[in-house]
Every structure is written in C-alpha cells, then in structure tokens.
Amino acid sequence: MRRFLVKRVALALVALVLVSMLVFATAEVLPGNVGRTILGRFATSEQVQRLNEKLGVYRPIPVRYGEWVAGFVTGDWGESQLLGRPVREVVLDRLGNSLILGAFAILLIVPISIGLGVLAALHYGKILDRAISVSGLSLIALPEFVTGVMLIVLFSVKLGWFPVSSQVPTANPFDIVRQLLLPSIPLMFVLFGYVARMARAGTVEALQSNYTRTAVLKGLPRRTVIWRHVLRNSLLPTISVVSVQFGYLVGGLVVVETLFNYPGIGKLVLDAAVGHDLLVLEAAVLVTAILFMVSNLVADLLYGVLNPRVRLAR
C-alpha cells in the first residue's frame, strides 16, 4: 500500500513538472504579449517593448522558468502582471469558489445519475430504460451554453426564482441552493448521460452474473440481492468515472462560469491565457492539475477499499 502511494505521488510530481513546462511553452506561442494586453492596441510598439522589458518578458525561458519554480515551491507565487494582485491570493480564492460550485454539482449529479442508471438497468429493455438512456444521450449533445441560457431565461428572467448572476453563496443552505442550483444543472445534463450509462452497464452486467443468480436462487429477497450483491459490484467503474469528472468540474467550468458570471478558476485560466498573465496561468493550471490528480488518487484508493481483489493485486 505504501509503495503504491509513493509510486503514485512520484508519478504525479513528474506529471506536474511536465504540465508546468508545457504551460510555459504554450504561453510563448500564444499570439500577443502581456505588455500589449496591459497597454492596449493604441500604445506604440516602443511603449510595449519597454514595458515587456520592465516585466522581464524578453529574458530566456529557462531563466524565467527556473525563477518561477523556485518561487512556486517556496510559496512565493509572485504578482499578477495583469491584475496587480498577488497570484496566490487570486488563484486560491478562485479555486475555493470553483470547489464550492463543483462540490455542490457533484452532490447533485452523482446520486441522481447513479439512481436513474441503476433504475434503467433494473428495467433493462423496457420503456423506462429506453427513456432514461435516450434522454441521457440527448442531454450530452446539448452544450452547456444552450441549456444554461434556456434555464436562465425560464427560471431567472421569466419566473425570477434564481439570480441570473450567481455569487459565491453564504453558509445559509437556502442561499447555497439559490446561487448554485441553476449553474449546476447544465453540468448535470452533460455528466448525467455519461455517469448513468456507466451505472446502467455495470448493473446490467452484475445482474446477469453467476453470483447474482446464485443469490436469487438461494432465496435472498430482491432488495438484499440488489444492495449487497449487485450495486457493490456494479458501481466500481462508476466511481472512477465520477472522480475523473470532478477534475473536469473544477477546471472546465469556463462556459458555466461565464454564463452565470460566477468567479471561478476556469474563467481565470482562460483570461490569464488570453492576456498572457503567465504567473496566474501557471499557478491556476497547476492547482487544477493537483486537484485532478488528488481526486484520481482518492478514487483509486476508494476502488481498493471497495474491491478487495484490486487491493490484494497491488
């Protein structure tokens, strides 16, 4: 177990170093530069060059990268050239906001998707199964900005139940639902079909297995068969799917955050990339990557807990 952990963490570190290098390199090939972003299109080339020089943009990449790494690992993430604020503060603040939205969305999505997926499997081939599968597939095909706008127009503009621009909620449960329910629904639409399909497939397979037949034949009540024998086995692949999606939820919320004007990290990454705010871009991408890797690791460990065969094999 310990060896497994050490190996995984070491691999994750290598991956993070590669990601950070990739971000640095990508920022170099993006059109424009930070001086131009700050000064705008009507500043002269000389002004832009002078500012870029002042900001150290023209120094060799390895030098800048080395400095950045040294700062990052000691907790000094530098100052955003574009925003004039400490990077750490901005990035962690935004990450926190995204985590709140992501966690709420996961809590909403996972039970509903798994529940309906299992329900479909239990009615395998019947009308309910078809309905759930088809609607899941259709919803995947609808992009977030379409469903998001429809939801806003209906529930915020016409009915006035929810705010159009979602803020970071207070601790009040009512406020949490008010602020986060609407932005979570387009995410649910995207993930629902995926997660429900996994849950359905796993359950169908488990239902047809020998151990289920044995359980049924030895006279266990249907409820016990499903809870003890079917679900325990069928949900394993679903858990790994969900954990991968959590990374997406936190880092890939750009569309939803833009639409609902929610101050999360996805939009920060996009703005930093477009504006060449390298320090913010690096920090934001890395914390998202770390989160992604941690959630994967947690999923693997959970997998092991739920499935003794895997635990022994490692």
Partner: protein, 547 residues
C-alpha cells in the same frame, strides 16, 4: 463682442451655421454659457439662451439616494487612468475620475475641472482656467500643478500612457505650463481648433490625477475628484463606489452609491438586465440587444455617433495597390442593406471618408458623391485594371460584435463584381497583438474604431501620412495639407470648404471603405432617470425612481 463672436453670429444669421452647430462651436472656443445666450439672442432677436450645464432631470424632480447597479465587460487588466484602453477599464475609472471639459448633448463642451478655456488667435496655444477649491477624494486640494503633471505624464513616451498616440503631433512633452496661480497653457505642436475635445473624455486617459500618482494604484481606491469615490475594487468581479460628499458641484450626485459588476460577455448582461439585477449598461452593442428593445421594463437610448468600422485596403502593395480595385470594392457594397441587415437601421450610411454625419464639419448632402452599389461599374473598374477575371483576396479581421456578419454580407455583395473574398477571422487579441500587428500589416482588414468628438481625432492617427494607426499605409500630401489647414482655421465657411475638399479626396482614393457609422446604445431599467440619449452620459445626474 469680439471678432470671432461676430463671425459666428454672422454665420448663423446667413443661415450657414445651424443653431446647434453654433452652440457647439462657441463651446469649443470656450465662450461661457451666458455669453452664448447673449450671442444667440443677437442672432435671432430673442429666443432662449443655451441650456447650460444644468443637470437634465429626464422628467420630474430628482430624488436623492439609492444604489445604481451598472454592468460592464470585465477590464483586460488592472484599471488605471493612464493605461485604460477598454470599455470595462474606462467605466471603472470614469465614475471616480474627471476631465477638464465634458462633451454634453450634441457634443457641446461643458466646463468640469476647467471653468474657462481660450485659444490664441492662431490657435496653437490654449489657456485653461482651472476650477479652484476642488478636493481630491483623500481631502487634499487639487492644484494647477496636478493638471500640468497629468498631461506631462500622458505625453511622455517613457510612461505607459495609452494616450500617447492621441496626442501625437499635437502636444509633446514640455508643452504644458502653469500660468499664474489658476491657469494652464497648452503650447501645441501645430494649430488645433478642436483641441478641447482632446482633454475631454474622448481621450479616456486624460483624467486629472494628483501629481504624485503612481500608475497601478488607482484600484486601491480614493483617487480622483469625481462625483463618486472608489471604495472597493474586487479583481475581475466589480467595484463599489460611494457618493463624494465634498463634490465641487454641491447639487450632485443624486445617487448614494454605485455597484459596478463585471461580466465576461454581453449576453449575460442582457439576461441580468431582463431579470432586473442590473440597472444600467452604458455600452450595449446592437448584436444581442434585440430582446431589450421589446422589454417593457427597459429603455434603450440610441444616439448617433462617430464609431465605425474601417475596411482598410493597403495602397502600397498587394491587390489593392491599384486605386480602381479599391473603388471597385467600394462600389460593390450595398450600404443600405448592411445598415438594415446588421443594425435594423440603427446606423448611418457611410461614404468612405472620415467625416461622420454627426461631426460639425460633415460635408452637406450632395457635396461628395455618395458611393452606391453598382456592380457594372465595379466590373468595369476591375477590367480597366486588367483584372477582368476578378480577384481573390483574403480579408483578415477579428471576432468582434457584428464584424463576422459584416464579412459574410460583404462576400455576398462583392462576388457579383468579381471580388471573391476569403475570410480569415482571428480572435481580437491576435488581430491587435503581435509586433507588428496584423491590423497594421494585412493588405485587407476590418478594424473597429470607437467614437471621437471631432473629425481630426478620427483622421489624424488613421489617415495622415505619419499616422501611427494608418493601416492602409495611405499617404496623400494634399489631404494632409487640407486637414492641417482645417485644424488651423477658425472661419466656419473656410472650415466647411476644406472639409469637403478633404472628404472628396478620401472618397475618391478609398484607403478604407467606411460602410456605416454606428449608433451608440445604452440600456437602462425604467427606474433610472436623468439619463438621456447623449454621447457621454454622466452617472452624476442619474437618479432612481424605483417602484
């Protein structure tokens, strides 16, 4: 009555100058509201005086108090008056900062931090009298030295001033001096009859700042003299302002506070306005605003402006080096259809010269031949240029508002003339990024230009030989001479003639096709009063009448 005043009165009496243009011109030359009133009565033997700088009320007696919620697209970088160059940054700064003069209705200039201004007879020297007793938001007194320092900073090539190109060729470092205890004199590089517009908010960056202002500290709050004090700035999210209790105009502002909320894009702003979460959006593009026109709780204020799109064609190389090819493109466009298709009529047809219909110097109807769609003529021009098979050209531009649709319309309209357009639509940061930027180098491109107060401001950087943003690389000595003469001329008849001559040259040479001049649009909830369809509304005179 001085000679100049007499000249203006004569022009109005002879019917060569409208009352509106008279008031505008008189305001540029720094005549006070009361003397404008006296002159007007001299013109017409009575009649009301100028409206003056009194606050418009937009119906009813203004109520005090309340918080106005404003939406704007998020600024691209930390806003500071010296560097601002986008809509979000400008809004953030202008609530707290002020200019020497303000363009009111019909672009008539009104006093703000300057109480009076006056040109020398040439007019290459302008003397501004600075308002006394104005307090900075931190409580200290604003002085003439602060004003001098503000402009020194803006024209210093070593600073990050985004206004450097706006003052290029007009005002250089060392050109600003303190005269006496309450006056500032601008010694210009060349005569410029419309100079006061350059120190109004048509030069966003000309906000008066303390002499010791450090670029980048504006968002810490408390910088400026304006009606509202910046209290809190939340990076990329918004800003809060409170009423300035020591504002130099004790009657204003009416509002207690302003909440500025940043959005990433316009569509969410439209939705937030429809839901009643936002009261005001000062820059509502037509694209996507259709829902607001139909909303019974929202007013959309539309005013003519000098904002436009320049379809530039490089005259020094590539397919458009031959003038006839540029003319062929100009004659392939159906401008009425563009205005209707892209704006449902909320734009004015352009004629490929830079004198917008709202500029006082705009040529009268018929003075310059209007370019209209004429495919036969366009084909003839191409065949004269030995291109009877037509041409294939790449049009490089940006993903911004209606421009991609404009490209589609253009391709359709130009094809029958034999001009086959291949679009290359880039993100704005790529079109304007890089060094040199595509917008200044591609042979065929479309650039968005914001509204300016007078024609020279539009023309100087984009169409003069040494213009820094001359994307067509067009250089016409006679045109340059006419514009310089126009800037130096005070006689209204001569100004009009010079403008027509210049416009004819540009219309004939077509460095850029200018298909339309866009109307500016602002959207506000019906609760917002005091707002009118003027070029630059000021939040200081807004008040709220919430049901």
């Amino acid at each position: 009555m001085g000679d100049y005043e007499y000249h203006l009165v004569e022009e109005v009496r002879a019917g060569r100058l409208t009352r509106r243009d008279f008031i505008r011109r008189a305001s540029v030359m720094g005549l006070s509201v009361s003397s404008i009133g006296v002159l007007l009565s001299a013109c017409q033997g009575g009649g009301s005086g100028g409206e003056g700088s009194g606050a418009p009320t937009g119906g009813g007696k203004p109520k005090r108090g309340g918080t106005l919620r404003i939406a704007r697209v998020v600024p691209g970088s930390d806003p500071d008056p010296v560097t601002i160059n986008d809509s979000g940054g400008v809004q953030t700064v202008q609530l707290a900062g002020e200019y020497l003069v303000h363009p009111g209705a019909d672009n008539v200039l009104e006093p703000r931090l300057a109480t009076k201004w006056e040109p020398s007879s040439t007019p290459d020297e302008w003397t501004f009298t600075i308002r006394q007793g104005v307090k900075w938001h931190d409580g200290s007194m604003m002085t003439v030295d602060d004003v001098v320092a503000t402009f020194d900073r803006l024209v210093d090539p070593k600073t990050e001033s985004a206004a450097l190109s706006a003052f290029e060729g007009v005002l250089s470092k060392g050109g600003v001096e303190k005269v006496g205890k309450d006056q500032v004199r601008f010694n210009l590089d060349r005569p410029y009859a419309d100079f006061p517009y350059l120190v109004s908010n048509y030069t966003f960056n000309a906000v008066i700042l303390p002499a010791n202002h450090e670029v980048g500290t504006f968002t810490e709050g408390g910088v400026g003299t304006g009606p509202f004090i910046l209290k809190e700035y939340k990076t990329q999210q918004g800003a809060s302002y409170v009423r300035n209790p020591d504002y130099w105009n004790p009657k204003l502002p009416y509002l207690d506070a302003i909440e500025l909320v940043y959005f990433d894009d316009t569509p969410p702003i439209v939705l937030a306005m429809q839901a009643g979460e936002i009261d005001y959006n000062a820059e509502q593009p037509f694209a996507g605003a259709q829902a607001l026109f139909e909303d019974p709780d929202i007013n959309v204020y539309v005013n003519q402006s000098s904002a436009y799109r320049a379809i530039h064609m490089r005259v020094d190389e590539g397919p458009f080096a031959d003038k006839r090819v540029r003319q062929a493109l100009a004659l392939s466009l159906d401008r009425e259809a563009l205005v209707e298709g892209l704006f449902q009529g909320r734009a004015e047809v352009g004629n490929d010269h830079a004198f917008a219909p709202i500029f006082p110097t705009a040529p009268p109807e018929g003075a310059v031949t209007q370019h209209v769609q004429d495919h036969a003529m366009a084909k003839q021009l191409l065949s004269d240029a030995e291109l009877s098979d037509g041409i294939d050209v790449e049009l490089t531009t940006q993903q911004f508002l209606e421009i991609p649709q404009l490209v589609t319309f253009m391709s359709e309209q130009a094809r029958p003339a034999g001009i086959r357009i291949k679009p290359n639509i880039l993100p704005p940061e790529e079109y304007y990024g890089g060094d040199p930027s595509p917008w200044l180098t591609v042979p065929f491109g479309i650039t968005d230009w914001a509204a300016r107060g007078v024609a020279s401001q539009t023309i100087a950087p984009a169409y003069l030989c040494d213009g820094v943003w001359n994307s067509a690389h067009w250089c016409n000595k006679e045109y340059d001479r006419l514009i310089a003469a126009l800037d130096a001329e005070l006689d209204e008849q001569k100004r009009g003639k010079l403008a027509v001559q210049a416009a004819r040259i540009q219309n004939e040479e077509v460095p850029s096709a200018i298909p339309y001049w866009i109307n500016e649009m602002r959207a506000a909830s019906k609760a917002v009063r005091g707002l009118e369809a003027v070029p630059r509304p000021e939040e200081a005179v807004f008040w709220l009448d919430r049901p």
